[in-house]
């Protein structure tokens, strides 16, 4: 059972305080978007064995959504960070690079 630190209230929350909210950094496509873009937004998800970026919510806590970067294989957590951002912080990307040189995830590397 995972623990993730909520970046908003600082609690080292165990999974029973959290709710998984799916993949991070999805770009919304609304009316006017192409069928391909919309399909990608609505249905296409990463399912990596390794580095992954997710959304979580501290639902039994401060109620805030946040992002987490972790390895789905080893369950190593590289960091949690604000939900109000379009990409992972450089510091977390560096941490991942140190462990998994050459990693990529969608447009991030």
């Amino acid at each position: 059972m995972l623990t993730l630190q909520c970046p908003y209230c600082g609690v080292e929350a165990e999974e029973t305080e959290l709710h998984a909210e799916g993949e991070a950094h999805l770009k919304r496509f609304g009316p006017g978007s192409s069928d391909d873009d919309f399909e990608g937004y609505l249905f296409m998800r990463e399912n990596p064995k390794g580095v992954h970026f997710e959304r979580w919510r501290h639902s039994n806590g401060c109620g805030k959504f946040f992002h987490a970067a972790r390895c789905t294989m080893t369950l190593e957590v590289f960091g949690t960070y604000s939900a109000q951002t379009l990409e992972p912080p450089q510091e977390i990307k560096d941490k991942i690079s140190a462990k998994y040189p050459g990693w990529t995830w969608r447009e991030f590397a």
């Binding site: 059972m1 995972l2 623990t3 919304r28 009316p31 978007s33 959304r55 919510r57 190593e76 957590v77």
Partner: protein, 1003 residues
């Protein structure tokens, strides 16, 4: 025979005798006895029968690895099957019965299976009960059921209580033997917060039994010192009777504390499941002795050598008067020496190693014990107990050299570290050739959230089996754990006198060349009755994977999970496959280490607190009125309020008629209420709802629909604009938390620059719907300042003010089609307000109605219900609700999806009303049959019913449903299927069955 010795028994309080019963026989034991030692002290060698062949079985071990000694323990609400006698502490008045036999332990009909052994090999059931197929249900299964299962299922409610406990520490040490104590000291000295747990009631493990010197003192004395030191450390907590049950991700450990198993008369929980978060875990879980595989190694009286020693030293109990020791290592010599010193006979030590043992062997010989090197047991003689052994050369095929009379056999096949807890979360193993066992590979530990290892094995759990190595390794583990949690420990390992032991030699079959006649009686897994011959057969039949072999033979699948059998089994498999043991590998170690009670997993969650039950402020009224409740999420809502002798259907009819004709009350408190406030609130709600909310005027209400990004309906409700930048959004009962979270999701993660705050105020209010032609009169009777006249509070308006003495917010909205006010008051005033309405409405015959009345009335009006008309695949257009979808808005959640060709297509099932031709009620869930059949030969369908009720207002069955073509099919007569295979004819009609022009709600 087994008996109590005059001397020995370091764990006993011989001053306190305890009475207990086994199969109704009255026995006595001492305080400090395990149930196993107490049974043996009373010469109860045979304790149960085996699972498959019903062979007589007695204890073979002395700890949690015991496969045979399982009993039904206790009676009534305290009854529990499959309790291990070796880990059950004796208490006064204990009652137990043996398992798996009929009619009695001594005479058992199922034992006929034993004589059919050769007809029940591995995979017997798989192979036998294949054909004919019908026979499985009617012939095979009833027979198999009769004889399946260990123990009896409890009949009564569990009389005990259980609980959880959350603990947070730096270091958990699992195992309170000398290794765990030493590791805890080394870790604790750094100041780290340490929790040390031990599954037995005693500290020190088996070191005091095995002897030796540490720090110049007898080991038992050294252990007493360690315990005292640890008890004095404020940062160290010691808990015995607490097993490390499982190790999980990110330093999560389950500790299973048996609080009152040994004191069932005490108050308090029986078991406590500790849910522990720790930075580091030290597994000082010791090692388990392996049996040797020779014919008859399961006859009562054949016991692990270490267990024989434990019973003698710890409990002053001899397993037999004459004990033959058979071994492949030096450790078993300690048993021979201990027995000899206790005045018992050891006619021979059979050492399978041609070169024999080391200094312990010399000591044994010096005591006058006969030692035979290169020898083994061809077979054990006896049935319900051992009578002798046939001695053979280990190297041969089992030719008898001599027969030796004895009543016990102490066997040792070497030791396997307990690697379970290391392995639970992914710790890897390496094969140690010298000790012929798997041990933790320190280079590949389970890793935690920081990417570093978080489990450190210590002592014999890590491989070292001699005292000096154990203590040094454990100390190093404690120091390493302290360092890993950012502390320093300078504790050094004490000096330990080294013993000169000779190397063990692996023996996987005794004798090495044993033929089929012997192999078929050489047991690997005692509890599941798996023999050497079964594993060999599996290999011959092509089962190469150890995981497949396990499932085919059931090796290691019983309640002991193969603690004694796994290594012997996979070595046998490797031998047959001609592959090295590490290549065959082990099966997966899964938690818990030994079975834990279901009660402890549930914790407090039973009876009244099994689940949270949500109650409205008016709940007590509903209970007093004997409402029939239905669950809606965690809420309990009244379905209807039946009077004495009244059916639910009649009650619903009465409630609806009263409401339509006069006035009724509905407790609508469960409806979600979310405040949305801010300069961008209107813009935000325009995105959340399909309709335009930003144009709503303060003081007005508007019904709105919410879709997800797939375009499908997820919720609906009435939105009230409170002021320029404040809205109150009603959601469905089940939707309050979900929709609040949904709003927060978009505000926090997509439009975080929009100035909007939300608050879920669902429970701030008791909300009561006053419904019916006399609703206004009832409210006006309460008085107060609020003008609720047609002009004062028009349809789809809301207003704050006093109604009577209550702080009210009244909404003129209607879900029934009647004149209706939904009135919210602070929850704390809810019950009083309800009572006031009931009193004021008495002259109009006012009565409450339940959710079924609500459903029927809304269906009569053709109003949709989320979850009935919608199922996660329905868009508003399917429900003919284009009127609720803004065409002016460029965007709202779900809009893009609704533009997809399939969504926009006419070729979708759409909403229509249905009236059965005969007036009957269409069954729930019925489909509208089509023509022809599909590829699977099933009848094609062209729609389905979504809501179907008897309408008291129209006195006939009415329904809504989705049908291919929707309202274009008006007037068609279609057929709905019924469970009995027939169909019912219904006409497609307008789904608004009642007051089509909406005049009644607008008065």
């Amino acid at each position: 025979m087994s008996t109590r010795l005059a001397s020995g028994g370091r764990l006993l309080n011989k001053g306190k005798q305890l009475k207990f019963s086994f199969n109704g026989k009255q026995f006595t034991g001492y305080e400090g006895d395990s149930l196993a030692s107490a049974l043996l002290a009373n010469d109860q060698m045979m304790i149960g029968r085996s699972f498959k062949y019903h062979r007589p079985r007695g204890v073979v071990a002395s700890g949690s690895e015991e496969p045979n000694g399982l009993v039904n323990l206790g009676e009534g609400g305290k009854f529990e099957p499959n309790q291990r006698v070796t880990t059950t502490e004796l208490f006064d008045g204990l009652t137990c019965t043996s398992q798996n036999h009929w009619p009695s332990l001594e005479f058992d009909i199922g034992a006929i299976n034993n004589h059919m052994t050769r007809f029940f090999p591995a995979g017997f059931y798989y192979k036998t009960f294949m054909f004919p197929r019908f026979a499985w249900k009617h012939v095979f299964e009833p027979i198999v059921r009769q004889s399946a299962g260990l123990g009896k299922a409890p009949q009564d409610r569990d009389a005990d209580t259980y609980e959880h406990f959350y603990a947070f520490v730096d270091v958990v040490v699992i195992g309170g033997g000398i290794a765990g104590l030493q590791a805890a000291k080394a870790a604790g000295a750094s100041g780290a917060k340490v929790l040390l747990m031990e599954q037995t009631p005693h500290w020190g493990g088996r070191a005091p039994v095995d002897g030796g010197e540490v720090d110049g003192k007898p080991v038992a004395e050294y252990i007493d010192g360690l315990v005292a030191e640890l008890q004095a450390m404020d940062n160290v907590t010691m808990r015995n009777r607490m097993m490390g049950a499982g190790v999980y991700d990110h330093g999560y450990v389950l500790g299973y504390e048996r609080v009152n198993d040994h004191t069932p008369m005490n108050t308090g929980p029986r078991h406590r499941l500790w849910r522990i978060r720790t930075k580091q875990i030290i597994t000082a879980t010791g090692a388990i002795e392996r049996p040797l595989s020779f014919a008859g190694n399961d006859i009562p009286g054949v016991v692990l050598a270490s267990a024989v020693r434990d019973y003698a030293v710890d409990y002053g109990v001899s397993v037999g008067d004459r004990t033959v020791v058979v071994t492949n290592n030096d450790d078993a010599y300690r048993t021979a020496i201990a027995l000899k010193k206790a005045g018992l006979e050891v006619p021979v030590i059979l050492d399978a190693r041609a070169s024999g043992g080391g200094s312990l062997a010399d000591e044994a010989k010096a005591l006058g014990i006969r030692v035979e090197n290169g020898k083994g047991i061809a077979k054990v003689k006896g049935g319900k107990r051992v009578t002798g052994v046939v001695v053979c050369a280990q190297a041969g095929q089992g030719a008898m050299l001599e027969e030796i009379k004895c009543d016990a056999v102490a066997m040792s096949g070497g030791w396997s570290p307990v690697v379970h807890l290391w392995s639970h979360c992914g710790g890897k193993l390496i094969w140690d050739d010298a000790q012929a066992h798997f041990r933790p590979d320190a280079a590949r530990p389970p890793k935690g959230a920081n990417g570093e290892g978080f489990v450190i094995p210590a002592g014999s759990a890590n491989g070292p089996l001699e005292l000096a190595g154990v203590v040094a390794d454990a100390n190093a583990a404690g120091v390493a754990a302290a360092k890993a949690v950012g502390q320093d420990s300078s504790v050094a390992a004490p000096a330990v006198a080294e013993a000169a032991e000779a190397a063990m030699e692996p023996v996987w079959l005794m004798p090495q060349g044993a033929g089929p006649e012997l192999r078929i009686k050489a047991w690997l897994d005692y509890q599941n009755d798996v023999k050497v011959s079964d594993v060999r057969l599996a290999a011959q039949e092509g089962y190469e994977s150890v995981e497949h072999t396990k499932r085919y033979t059931t090796l290691g699948m019983a309640t002991d999970q193969g603690k004694l059998s796994n290594i012997n089994g996979l070595a046998t498999l490797a031998g047959q496959l001609n592959a090295p043991i590490p290549e065959v590998g082990t099966t997966t170690f899964r938690p818990p280490y030994t079975p834990i009670s279901m009660g402890s997993i549930a914790g407090e969650a039973r009876d009244a607190v099994f689940q949270p039950l949500r109650r409205t402020p008016i709940h007590a009224y509903h209970e007093d009125e004997k409402a029939f409740f239905e669950p809606v999420g965690h809420w309990r809502r009244p379905y209807c309020f039946p009077k004495a002798g009244e059916s639910h259907a009649d009650a619903v009819k009465r409630e609806i008629n009263q409401t339509r004709n006069s006035v009724g009350l509905l407790d609508a408190s469960t409806l979600g209420k979310i405040i949305v406030k801010g300069p961008d609130a209107g813009k935000f709600l325009d995105m959340m709802y399909t309709n335009m909310m930003s144009t709503l005027k303060p003081g007005k209400c508007r019904y709105g629909l919410m879709c997800n990004e797939n375009g499908f309906l997820i919720d609906d409700g009435v939105v009230a604009r409170i002021d320029e930048d404040t809205f109150l959004c009603h959601t469905t009962t089940g939707g309050a938390e979900r929709i609040h979270g949904w709003m927060e999701d978009w505000l926090q993660c997509e439009w975080w620059d929009w100035k909007v705050y939300t608050a879920n105020v669902t429970e701030q209010y008791a909300q009561i719907a006053v419904v019916g032609p006399n609703a206004r009169k009832v409210i006006e009777k309460l008085g107060g300042e609020m003008d609720v006249s047609k002009e004062g509070l028009a349809f789809m308006e809301w207003k704050d003010g006093k109604i009577g003495e209550f702080d009210a917010r009244a909404y003129r909205i209607s879900f029934s089609g009647e004149l209706s006010y939904e009135i919210a008051v602070p929850a704390s005033q809810g019950r009083a307000f309800w009572d006031a309405l009931m009193e004021a409405g008495a002259e109009f015959g006012i009565m409450p109605y339940g959710t079924e009345g609500l459903h029927v009335m809304r269906a009569e009006k053709g109003f949709i219900m989320i979850g009935d008309e919608t199922d996660g695949t329905v868009i508003p257009q399917d429900l003919n609700m284009q009127w609720a979808i803004s065409k002016k808005k460029e965007d709202f959640l779900g809009k893009r999806a609704q533009l997809r060709p399939f969504m926009a297509s006419d070729d979708r099932w759409k909403l229509a009303g249905f009236e059965t031709v005969d007036g009957s009620v269409i069954p729930d869930g019925a489909y509208i049959v089509g023509t022809g059949v599909n590829a699977n030969g099933q009848r094609n369908v062209q729609g389905r019913v979504t809501s179907t009720y008897y309408s008291p207002t129209l006195d006939r069955g009415i329904a809504m449903g989705l049908i291919d073509g929707g309202m274009k099919r008006l007037g068609d007569v279609v057929e709905f299927n019924k469970v009995d295979g027939s169909t019912v004819k219904a006409k497609v009609v307008d789904p608004v069955f009642y007051d089509k022009d909406g005049e009644k709600q607008n008065v």
